[in-house]
Amino acid sequence: MLPADCSRRLVAELQGALDACAQRQLQLEQSLRICRRLLQAWEPTGTWAWEPPPEPETNEEDPLPACTPSPQDLKDLEFLTQALEKAVRVRRGITKTGERNKAPSLKPGSLVTSPGMTASTPPQSPGQAGGHASDTRPTKGLRQTTVPAKGRPERRLPSVLDRTRVGIGVRAPRPGAGLRNQLMAPSAAPQAPEAFTLKEKGHLLRLPAAFRKAASQNLSLWVQLSSMQTSDSMDAAAAKTQFLQNMQTASGGSQPRLSAAEVEAEARRLRKACSLLRLRVREELSAAPVDWMQEYRCLLTLEGLQAMVGQCLQRLQELRAAVAEQPPLPCPVGRPPRASLSCGGGAEPTWSPQLLVYSSTQELQTLAALKLQVAMLDQQIHLEKVLLEEEMGVQQRSAALRRSG
């Protein structure tokens, strides 16, 4: 057995690693549930329907817990119901005449204005791609129960329905179904409403206008921020540098003390140096020179590498001496954030959103698997290092014991 205090740290590290894995697993599973549900048939979510009165046409299956609406809600409900009935009438008219373009003609003004919502843009916004645009734009999602709401700006819907939980679906499944089928396949005869699956009808979805607007504004702001960063004002940058210098001199030290973070960074560099040097040495030693020129090259390289190793050792000694003599500004107990070996660390993050393009499921899976593999190797290396350090610690202690004993 290893001495107790030696392996305790290893055990602690292993526990930490196990916990991290478990947490990742949990999150992955959550994510999986969401994805699986998305790929199944989309059920009517049930938030749209109260406990409906017996309605043979309704396909609602999940009853909601009853909720008592407030007087305000009831008033809203009434408005809504009236508007919906009107909508249904209009739609019926449309279905008969087959004129689809009237569908978005419901004026927003006739609807309940919900407080706190931004004013809507008219549904007809130009520049929509795709033939389905004018029809599916008012659609937030192709679902049975949202049908009566199609004529209105989508933003209103959540706030009103959120409060009232109206049994809209009760009213108009049939014309809704008819309209929906019409939106998707204009020439097809009205069919029995089908469940919505991503596979078949996913390409018909459209994002709501408010969302699109907010998202594109978001994107453009990030891009602006990014371009501002790269062309940073000279004045501001100079002012900042000057300020930092002033801070340094005002605190009485012209030489900034080594911070724990800097020590860690230097140590990381030297570790990287060590591994790179070692790799190179292996290469050179295993190479078999065929002519004098190669031999000379090899010799020079080895001697050069020797000099570099010497330099690194010297820097390390200097670092350790500096640390010992003037302890770096106290670092938080517990290790400083352990930057992974493969990551350079400290690079400038770019703010504008970037894309990662893949072309097939296979590629994505390979990518993800490799990422996990690299992370796992990183972790294993860390554990080996912990073990090694502990072993060396044991050696030192036993050597000290022998000396004193």
Partner: protein, 493 residues
């Protein structure tokens, strides 16, 4: 010599400074009012606690939640001091400030400005709480394995630890990794399908298809059907809150943060009651459920306002720096670093030294090896060279050799001298599926990333093998030195 062109017009505008400060405070999460800043310049005590809290928010690695807000001011103050020191904050006055928020607002203002001068703090803060609309994957491995929450309560095991226990833990870890891999593969397949089925939907042509977040929002705009437990924004890495992607620049790492918090709270009398309960960053407070449309919209709008504030701040910040210089001027210069350390969280002198020791040993071994090999070859070479003729082309050839070698070794040295790997992009990227795999200049291609990862993998494997060899050597040495020590090495991989 000041070295900057002061724009007289900018400084003369009366409202410029308050505007700049207002923009700054709007861009920071729960930023204090400009009045607080003004009071801090005059070192008023009532501005102190707001600044402690702001510094804490800026320095802590986790996004805000009710969890963090419930931490007492003293604890926040201690952690702030600790974090600033570990980043090399030069002024000692900070360390000596009382932690009850009774004084020191000017010093805190200086500390905040120091942080602002060193890095893009407002941008980082917004990025921390960024709304990920797409399915994201990070490219780099920063903080990849950082634990997410408080460390499990340390069970101080008494007595020797059985090596079989260690082996069992290692086996368990391997199993969990395998589980992760297979779950991950399944998720990739599903994600790919969702992307495929929704192509042609997105208003943004460059994206082309919906992400899971967007699709889920369409499926269930009310958020009525929730997955049990807290829902997480779609992130393929799922290893850490998105804020950490940007913590490559100095900040407290999460593990450090939690360790510190644990230690600080163990001091008697610091926190009343049980602190463990409200601190649950893995739960709902950290990752908010984003799918309901109204929540998503609200969060997006909020972020947009913050971004506008950051842009305004960047345009106006020169005035702020001029003002900060005057604030600094009102402080008395400090004496050079005193010999005594201010009392802090206990500092472990061997912090990081164990690893340095490792590197020293490796380098020494390498040095020995090289010395032997180089000497041998030098001798052999000299013998050979004596036999050959000496002519101008001979020496020219030798010089050419020397130059080549110098160049190569110089390039090698640059590999580790340069702290940054510019080729490596950082931060999360939105996954986009395109049949042809075409990508713009700024975008990454999966194929290239795969190549990079493969080479990284090879590198790491070599390193691991070497370390395992070293471990075995050390163990052998140990076994020899300490009779009676038996070690069954874990099965090699």
């Amino acid at each position: 010599m000041r070295g900057r062109r002061v724009d007289p017009a900018a400084g003369a505008r009366a409202g410029a400074l308050p505007e700049a400060i207002a923009a700054l405070s709007r861009s920071l999460p729960s930023g204090p009012s400009p009045e607080i800043f003004r009071r801090a310049k005059f070192d008023r005590p009532d501005a102190t606690s707001a600044l402690w809290q702001l510094l804490f928010r800026v320095l802590s690695p986790l996004p805000a939640g009710s969890a963090l807000a419930s931490i007492a001011l003293e604890v926040q103050a201690r952690l702030v001091k600790s974090a600033l020191c570990s980043q090399g904050y030069p002024r000692l006055a900070l360390a000596q400030l009382p932690e009850d928020g009774s004084q020191g607002s000017r010093e805190l203002l200086l500390a905040l400005s120091w942080l602002l001068a060193r890095g893009p703090v407002p941008e980082q803060m917004v990025a921390q709480t960024r709304v990920p609309l797409g399915d994201e994957m990070t490219v780099c491995q920063c903080e990849a394995l950082a634990s997410l929450g408080p460390p499990a309560p340390h069970m101080e095991t008494e007595g020797p630890v059985d090596v079989r226990h260690v082996q069992w833990l290692m086996g368990k870890l391997r199993f969990r990794w395998r589980q992760l891999v297979s779950s991950q593969q399944e998720q990739c397949a599903l994600l790919s399908k969702i992307h495929l089925y929704t192509r042609g939907c997105h208003s943004d042509q460059s994206l082309g298809h919906l992400s899971v977040t967007e699709a889920e929002m369409l499926r269930d705009p009310e958020g009525g059907q929730q997955v049990s437990g807290a829902g997480a924004a779609q992130n393929l890495d799922l290893a850490y809150p998105k804020g950490l992607h940007f913590s490559c620049t100095p900040g407290m790492g999460p593990r450090t943060f939690w360790n510190d918090l644990w230690l600080v709270c163990q001091q008697p009398g610091l926190l009343p009651g049980d602190w463990a309960a409200p601190l649950d960053p893995g739960g709902a407070s950290a990752c908010s459920l984003l799918f309901p449309l109204r929540v998503l919209l609200r969060t997006l709008e909020h972020e947009n306002r913050r971004l506008e504030a950051v842009l305004a701040w960047r345009r106006a910040e020169l005035v702020f720096w001029q003002w900060m210089d005057t604030v600094l001027g009102t402080c008395a210069p400090e004496a050079p670093a005193a010999a005594s350390q201010p009392t802090f969280l206990p500092w472990v002198p061997e912090c990081g030294d164990g690893e340095l020791e490792l590197v020293v040993r490796e380098l020494r071994t390498l040095e020995e090896e090289l010395r032997e090999a180089a000497e041998r070859r030098r001798v052999a070479w000299e013998a050979k060279a004596r036999g050959c003729g000496r002519g101008p082309e001979w020496s020219a050839a030798r010089r050419a050799c020397r130059e080549t070698v110098e160049k190569e070794l110089g390039a090698l040295q640059r590999c580790w001298e340069q702290d940054r790997s510019p080729a490596q992009a950082h931060g999360p990227h939105r996954l986009v599926r395109r049949e042809d795999g075409a990508a713009g200049d700024r975008d990454l291609r999966a194929a290239e990333l795969i190549r990079t990862l493969r080479s990284q993998e090879a590198c790491l494997e070599a390193m691991l093998r070497q370390l395992q060899g070293q471990c075995r050597q050390e163990l052998a040495r140990l076994a020899g030195a300490l009779p009676g020590l038996i070690w069954i090495p874990p099965p090699g991989r």
